[in-house]
């Protein structure tokens, strides 16, 4: 099964049990808007942790009706995050979302050794794009979290992402390991890592997916361009997941898709006990809503 667009993602979540989402430091207008919409559309059951007065003020000025919503008053930002994370590690909720707090502070709590959400896995960013010019959604990792992943990191990033895609219904997602070229070039580490990841996949050292790389961006997403180059690959032209060589390539691709290709995007952090919605202030409310959808679908 593949997802064609964000509506397919929504269909995946609809009708299932509603996941509990904790919005940490909830006094944040943009996050609240998306969370309340997801609540009204029966996608999640939110718990707002933060400055109760601030939350009510935002809701009043935006005409959000939150009667019946559970709010835990914790005016201190750091404490509200700690409370949120502890509720998750004690299994009281399924999704963590960032409100009015910096990403670094939130992640510090997530990684807390005694009460955090560590699993032993690397944390990685996973983004899902709906682009008009591609026949299905395409996942991209890691565009925001790991700066210059080593081979070991890349293995962990692929494993996180594949497990997520598996939960979204992809039995054997096709993973393209991106390079500037599709050839192996000793001077380009990304192409060497790509070759190693392909071999590890062949040898069942990375499972539940089909990996090929290096593939240049055009070969990865266009069968025609792969055929022109004579590339024989199960992945070329039919990629479900693009693995980025580093954050610079990833971040530029991500922003190009959003700004130039008007892509819709949903993104979450993987590798912790639960999916984390960690959108930035500049993301649209739609992107935040879609990210909540993705987190709900990815949640076990």
């Amino acid at each position: 099964m593949v997802l064609k667009n964000m509506n397919d993602l929504k269909r995946l979540v609809e009708g299932g049990p509603r996941k509990k989402l904790i919005l940490a430091a909830a006094e944040d207008q943009h996050s609240l808007g998306a969370v309340i919409r997801a609540w009204k559309e029966n996608i999640i059951e939110p718990i707002l942790v933060g400055n109760e007065e601030g939350i009510h003020n935002i809701c009043a000025s935006n005409n959000y009706d939150i009667s019946g919503l559970r709010i835990i008053n914790e005016p201190d930002t750091e404490k509200s995050v700690e409370t949120s994370v502890k509720m998750i590690s004690s299994k009281q909720a399924d999704i963590l979302m960032k409100g009015k707090i910096g990403s670094a502070s939130l992640l510090r709590s997530v990684l807390n050794k005694t009460w955090g959400l560590r699993t032993g896995n690397l944390l990685s960013h996973f983004a899902l794009f709906e682009v008009e010019t591609y026949p299905k959604v395409i996942a991209v990792t890691d565009v925001a979290m790991n700066i210059a992943p080593t081979l070991q990191d890349k293995i962990a990033i692929v494993n996180n992402s594949v497990a997520c895609l598996n939960r979204l219904g992809y039995k054997m997602p096709k993973v393209a390991v991106l390079g500037a070229v599709e050839m192996v070039n000793e001077n380009m580490q990304a192409t060497l890592d790509a070759a190693l990841l392909s071999k590890m996949n062949q040898r069942d050292q990375i499972i539940n997916c089909i990996i090929d790389g290096p593939l240049a961006f055009d070969n990865a997403v266009s069968l025609e361009s792969a055929q022109l180059k004579g590339i024989k690959s199960e992945v070329a032209g039919d990629t479900d997941l693009l693995l980025m060589p580093d954050i610079e390539v990833g971040n530029v691709l991500y922003k190009s898709l959003v700004f130039f290709a008007k892509a819709k995007v949903a993104s979450i952090i993987l590798g912790a006990m639960v999916p984390i919605v960690l959108t930035s202030r500049s993301d649209s409310e739609q992107a935040k809503f879609d990210s909540i959808l993705l987190a709900a679908a990815a949640s076990r």
Binding site: V184, L196, K199, R203, Q205
Partner: protein, 300 residues
């Protein structure tokens, strides 16, 4: 397709060509015996460089008529080596062969920057065809003689030489197994890293005309039953034509062990030179030396 060394000999005879072989320091018994055999079969003419008196003595002791050879006088093994190389360089000989001279002295002449036989930018390596009674066809191995610890570039060169030789034996797309202790990719085993990169290069047609897989152990490379038992998916499928070894210390005992214990015969050749260069261990049998001469004619 040539399946054993006698078929190789037949193929050389069918070429109906006489190659001129210059032998450096030629007075040893096995060399003269092998050369005599090849001259009598009609596929070579021999130029023996060394001490004429000793050459004649060896011939007489074996009842060989020395007048069927051209004799060139030389006073020491270094001079004899240079002379053999010079004859090839000037076109007076087609093939160079090492007699009783030490391999290092002989190769020094071959590799001399101005007077030697190296192709520009090429890697000097060694490939040999082994006839093993327990295997259903010839098995080519590289490199049991020249490169102690090949790096990636040298391994790629070794693979290309072996493929080229196998093709001369009528194997259009030889199966090449990159040999290790296990089939897994591990960063701790540098060779498995190189092998994974090479497989991708073969995928992308950067190494042409072969079916390549590795790392593989010798069982997975040469025994279908082991492939079934282990359940490893490999295009080589226990039917390797070529084994590429990670080091001289692994390949050299492999071939010597087979010669000593498994009644293996072999024919080997230096690669990377303008003209074929025959180098073999002084202790090798006359029969093996004869096959080496025939092989050099096939490759000339």
């Amino acid at each position: 397709m040539i399946r054993n060394l006698e078929q190789m000999e037949e193929k050389v005879l069918a070429l109906n060509k006489k190659h001129r072989v210059a032998v450096a320091w030629a007075q040893d018994n096995n060399t003269i015996g092998a050369i005599n055999n090849a001259v009598k079969k009609g596929f070579i003419e021999a130029i023996l460089i060394g001490k004429p008196s000793e050459i004649k003595k060896t011939c007489e002791s074996r009842g060989i008529d020395y007048r069927i050879f051209a004799l060139v006088e030389s006073h020491n093994e270094i001079q004899a080596s240079s002379e053999a190389v010079r004859l090839a360089k000037t076109g007076e000989a087609d093939i160079v062969m090492k007699g009783l001279v030490g391999t290092d002295k002989f190769l020094k002449a071959v590799m001399d920057k101005e007077m030697g036989l190296m192709l520009p930018g090429s890697v000097l390596s060694y490939v040999c065809a082994m006839e093993i009674p327990a295997y259903h066809k010839l098995l080519f191995i590289t490199d049991p003689a020249v490169i102690p610890f090949p790096n990636l570039d040298q391994k790629v060169a070794m693979a290309r030489y072996a493929i080229e030789m196998a093709q001369k034996f009528g194997i259009k797309k030889p199966k090449i197994a990159l040999i290790s202790a296990s089939e897994k990719m591990s960063r701790l085993f540098e060779n498995s890293v190189d092998y994974s990169i090479m497989c991708k290069m073969a995928d992308r047609n950067q190494i042409k005309n072969c079916i390549m897989d590795g790392p593989l152990d010798i069982f997975l490379a040469c025994d279908k039953k082991s492939v079934e038992i282990k359940g490893v998916e490999t295009p080589v499928n226990g039917d390797a034509d070529i084994l590429l070894f990670p080091s001289l210390e692994s390949s050299n005992p492999f071939y010597k062990g087979l010669m000593l214990f498994a009644k293996c015969e072999l024919a080997g050749l230096i690669r990377g030179t303008e003209k074929p260069v025959i180098v073999m261990s002084r202790s090798e049998s006359e029969r093996s030396k004869y096959f080496c001469i025939a092989l050099s004619c096939l490759m000339a």
